[in-house]
Structures are given as C-alpha cells and as structure tokens.
C-alpha cells in the first residue's frame, strides 16, 4: 500500500495586489497546481524545486498543517486535515525554520516532554533516544538550553525529536540549510542509515543537490506548482541528455583523431594540451581512452560525472519556455 497518495492536489491562495494608493485587486495564486504522487513504504524521496515552486506548501498539506483547495490526499491512509491528531502520531516533521523544541529548556527536557505529548511508552522512548544520542552525538549538549545550541546541534536535536514517537513517515523541509560541513555530514550519514534500515519513509525538500545525490533514489522536481520530473537521478540525466565527460592532458597539442567513435570534442584548452570529450550514451570511458591512447601520448585522464545542477537549471528553463509558449 502506498503511504502517501496525492491526486491532482491543489492549493490556491488569495492575494490582494496593490493597485493605486488605496485600491487592491484580488488575485488567485496557485502555489500547488495539480500534483499527483504515490510514495511507497520505505522509499526515500527528494522533493526539489526553485524558491516558490510549492515544495513547502505541498509538505504542509501532507502533514495536515494546510488544507488543500482541491484534490485527493491520503497519508498513512488518513485524510490529513480532518484526521490531524491521529496523523501526527504516524509522522515526524522537521521544518528547518520552525523549532519543535522548547527554547528556554535544556534539550533533554524537550525530549522528556515529547514523551508525554505523544504518550510514548517509556521503554520505546528510551531505546530510540539512546540510538539517536549515539548516532547523532547528542551527549555533549543534552543539558544545554535549546536557545544556546548552534544550528547544527539544534538540527540534530530536531531530528531526534521528530523520531522519538516512531513515525512511519519522516518529512524534512530543508534539513541541511545553513549547516556547516561537519553537521551536514552528520545529518546525511544519519539519514542514510535511516534509509538503509528501510522502516521509515523519508520525504525531504532541499536546495542542496548533494543531499539528493547522497540520499534519494527517487527525485520529484516541481516548478510553478507542477511536477516536471518524477524518477531516478539516472532517468533525469538520460532524459535531458547530460553526458559524462573525459578530460585528457596531452604531451603534444591536440590534432583531430580520424574515425574516433563514441565521443565528440567539447573543448580544447591550454594551447591544445587539454581536451574535453563528451561521451555518447552507453559508451564507456575505457572505449574512448583506448582509441585515444593509440594516437597520442596521454599525460593525465579524468572522468567527470554529469552535473546535476546543470541538468536541473536546464529543466527549469525548459518548463519556463513551455509555460510562455502555452500562455503566449
């Protein structure tokens, strides 16, 4: 059974635009414009999109915070807004910008309070807390008031708080935003482990594409409130024709190799001493390098994986073009 089912989900907001000094004009803005999505138990899903694309709005509908304007939505088999209280026991949520911890109390007290708020059996609570303490290294700041924690420490606390009641789905909105490298790694390693255990379904939004590459097998990209890609990272590369590249440094300046197959020259730099080839689909780097080695002395070789940021930038541009064609 799918743990999240959304069909034609929409959220519209009414905004009043200023026209003139006192008059205002009513305008309906679709933040989420017909999103359909199925997420299975145990999946780790990356939810990606530019600012204002509707990522957070979707997540807030999934968690029962916002009521959809239309469409069908079930999370853990429940309709989120009308069954909000039941749903909160099944999901864990980390909204990077809003703390669920008690600001003025030591971190430890927030965890104790959550046990009562969610009515978690003592033994379960202790076991999960012990696990998080170890994996996230909470011990050194467990007695510090939350307001004095660094962002990285607080985020580790938030993750723990979201997991103490043993949720089936974990929603993370920008979990690594603003974190230093060490904290980012700690958070990613923790989420990787969580994913590999396969018990918790994870849905995360992010701007950091490294999060996606490390964590998510499935990627949903939205732009202007619509899904523009749903599939694996590889499928995204295949669809938008991103290529792997081979960069070779040569002893002598580059001369055209006759009959080179499976690759085209993309750039020649350093007075002909450095050449970048892009590989055709399904061609191995070895195939091209063997051919090159027959013609020229190779000093150094590197293989560059396709750049996800570039693909996504291209994707947004394509979806903008499609929109302007449709509306124009």
């Amino acid at each position: 059974m799918a743990i999240i089912e959304a069909e034609e989900l929409r959220k519209e907001f009414v905004v009043w635009r200023k026209v003139g000094r006192l008059r205002r004009q009513r305008q309906v803005v679709s933040a989420v414009d017909g999103v359909s999505l199925r997420v299975e138990q145990g999946e780790t899903l990356g939810y990606l999109g530019p600012n204002g694309a509707g990522k957070s709005t979707t997540l807030k509908m999934f968690t029962g915070v916002l009521a959809p304007s239309s469409g069908r939505l079930r999370v853990c088999g429940l309709e989120p807004v009308s069954r909000r209280v039941q749903l909160t026991r099944q999901i864990g949520v980390v909204f990077g910008q809003r703390s669920q911890l008690w600001w003025d109390l030591p971190l430890r007290d927030s965890f104790a309070l959550l046990r009562h708020v969610f009515r978690i059996p003592q033994a379960e609570h202790a076991a999960r807390l012990a696990q998080c303490r170890e994996l996230l290294g909470l011990d050194e700041f467990l007695d510090t008031p939350v307001r004095q924690l660094s962002l990285g420490q607080r985020m580790r606390g938030e993750l723990t708080a979201a997991l103490l009641h043993g949720p089936r789905v974990l929603f993370l909105d920008e979990p690594t935003i603003g974190l230093d490298v060490v904290s980012k790694q700690a958070v990613r390693a923790f989420l990787t482990q969580l994913r590999d255990q396969g018990e918790v379904t994870v849905v995360l939004t992010t701007h950091d594409l490294a999060d996606i590459e490390r964590l998510c097998r499935r990627l949903v990209i939205i732009d202007h409130g619509r899904v523009v890609h749903d599939g694996s990272l590889e499928a995204l590369h295949a669809r938008y024709g991103s290529r792997r590249r081979v960069v070779v440094d040569l002893d002598a300046p580059w001369e055209q190799v006759p009959g080179l197959s499976g690759a085209v020259v993309e750039a020649v730099e350093a007075e002909g001493h450095r050449v970048t080839f892009s590989l055709a689909e399904g061609v191995t780097a070895g195939h091209v390098i063997t051919q090159l080695a027959g013609y020229a002395a190779l000093r150094d070789i590197s293989i560059v994986e396709p750049d996800i940021e570039e693909v996504i930038a291209r994707l947004y541009a394509a979806s903008d073009d499609a929109r302007s064609v449709a509306s124009g």
Binding site: F13, A67, R89, Q97, Q100, L105, F118, R119
Partner: protein, 264 residues
C-alpha cells in the same frame, strides 16, 4: 491526556521563571495595576450615588460579578490573543504537528500565572460588595452566585477565542478583538439600563453581556428590571454561555482550515 497538557503548562512556567527579573517585574506591576483598579472603583462610587436606577452598592455587586467572570476568563484563555503572533511567525505549524488540541495547546503554552492576582482582587471586591448590600440568602441565591461567574467567564472566553480567530483571515487584526473583550468588561461593569439604542442591543443581547452579571445580580438582589425583563432571566447565563461556546467553536474550526502558514 490531561497529563500532557499539565506537563506543557509546567514547562511553560519553568521557561518563564528562566527570566527571573522580568517575571518579578511582571508580578509587581500586575499588583500595582490591581490596586489602582480598586481605587478607581471606590472613587467612582463616592461621586455617583446612583446609576441607571440602582444604588451605588447594588452597582458594585454587578461590577464585582462581572469583574470576577472577566478575570477568570482572562486567566484561562486571555492569552489566546497571542494566536496572532503564532500565525504571523508560522509557529502555529508546530502546534498543529502535535497530537493535542490546537486551542488547548495555545492556552497552556502561554499561560500567565500572574493573572491569578486579578481573580483574587475580583473575589475581594465581590465579598466587600455582598457585605454592603442586604441579601435575603437562599439556596437558589447561593447557587446563582456560584454558577454565574463560571458561566459568565465562559461567555467572555468564547468572545476571546472568536475574536482571536479573526487573525486566521486577517493577521494585522491588531487590537480589534479587544473592543469586544475589554469593551465587554467595561460594558458589564454598569447596569444595562444605563445604555440605550443599538449599542445596548448589540452588547447586552447580541453578544449576551446582559447575562454575565446584570440579570443574575437582579435575581440576587431581588430587584425588578427597570427595562421589564422577567426575574428568572438570571438563570439564563449557562444557556447563553453554551450558545456562545458553540459559536466560538465553529468560528475556531473554520479559522484553522483557513490557516495559510508562512513561506518556507
């Protein structure tokens, strides 16, 4: 269930006492304000011997009953006006993500124990007022004296909640709700007979403020209504409270569905 709210309450009080000096300043200023309130009431009744067909002492009974109802509701739900802040900052998201009633949490997480002082003050004034008038005590009169402030505080509480809920539609609603809550407190301090026209109709009957203290006080004092209402209306307070709570609950539910959160 209760224990979750109790623990949230304890956590809130502990958080408040983290800032000891500010907590102390709060308590001292509240006490001073209460003292000033009492002085104001005493001054008023020295210069005005009669109001709206009632003696100063009788008016004092009404005022004290209203003040008790108001201060009770202010203690229990007055902090619901902080809803605006939770909506503006998007912190209401967090409230919705816990398996507890959203309204219940709001009341508990901003509970201000210092407001107990005003309840004590109202009780003292009421005791003094009752001592100053002649009441033919009976079981019915004792019952109405106990029931009225409780039911009356529910009427005020409903208006506090409904008023705060406006923020779901209009975040910058500012002090609009106060016109009805603090306005209601001031209205109920005087007999309904001193008001007239649409103003009396709106506040006394439309919003039900005549039932907070006026009609029950008439029953208690055994005085006929100068406006001709039957004496048994004094028992109407719980009914009006129930009605007000139903309306407030509907407004609240609709409001939560209109919650828009904030960006990101």
């Amino acid at each position: 269930m209760l224990s979750a709210y109790t623990r949230l309450l304890v956590a809130q009080i502990r958080s408040q006492t983290q800032y000891r000096l500010s907590f102390l300043a709060d308590v001292v200023s509240t006490c001073l304000m209460s003292l000033l309130d009492i002085v104001a009431v005493l001054v008023l009744f020295r210069v005005t011997p009669a109001l709206g067909g009632f003696s100063g002492r009788q008016v004092l009974v009404m005022a004290a009953m209203a003040l008790l109802a108001f201060s009770l509701s202010d203690l229990l739900v007055g902090n619901v006006e902080r809803l605006r802040f939770y909506i503006r900052t998007g912190l209401f998201d967090v409230v919705l993500l816990r398996p507890l009633s959203a309204l219940g949490q709001l009341l508990v997480i901003d509970f201000a124990p210092r407001r107990t002082g005003r309840v004590v003050q109202a009780l003292v004034i009421l005791a003094v007022a009752l001592f100053l008038v002649d009441i033919d005590w009976s079981v019915a009169r004792v019952a109405i004296l106990v029931v009225t402030p409780l039911a009356g505080s529910l009427i005020f509480a409903s208006i506090f909640v409904a008023g705060a809920t406006v923020a779901f539609w209009w975040v910058e609603s500012g002090e609009l709700a106060n016109a009805f809550t603090y306005g209601g407190r001031d209205f109920t301090t005087y007999p309904v007979s001193v008001y007239s026209g649409w103003f009396r109709r709106l506040f006394a009957y439309g919003l039900g403020f005549a039932f907070v203290a006026y009609y029950p006080a008439l029953f208690l004092l055994d005085v006929p209504d100068p406006l001709g209402a039957p004496i048994w209306l004094g028992w109407g307070t719980p009914v009006v409270a129930l009605l007000a709570m139903t309306v407030a609950a509907c407004v609240w539910r609709t409001g939560v569905r209109h919650y828009r959160s904030t960006g990101s």
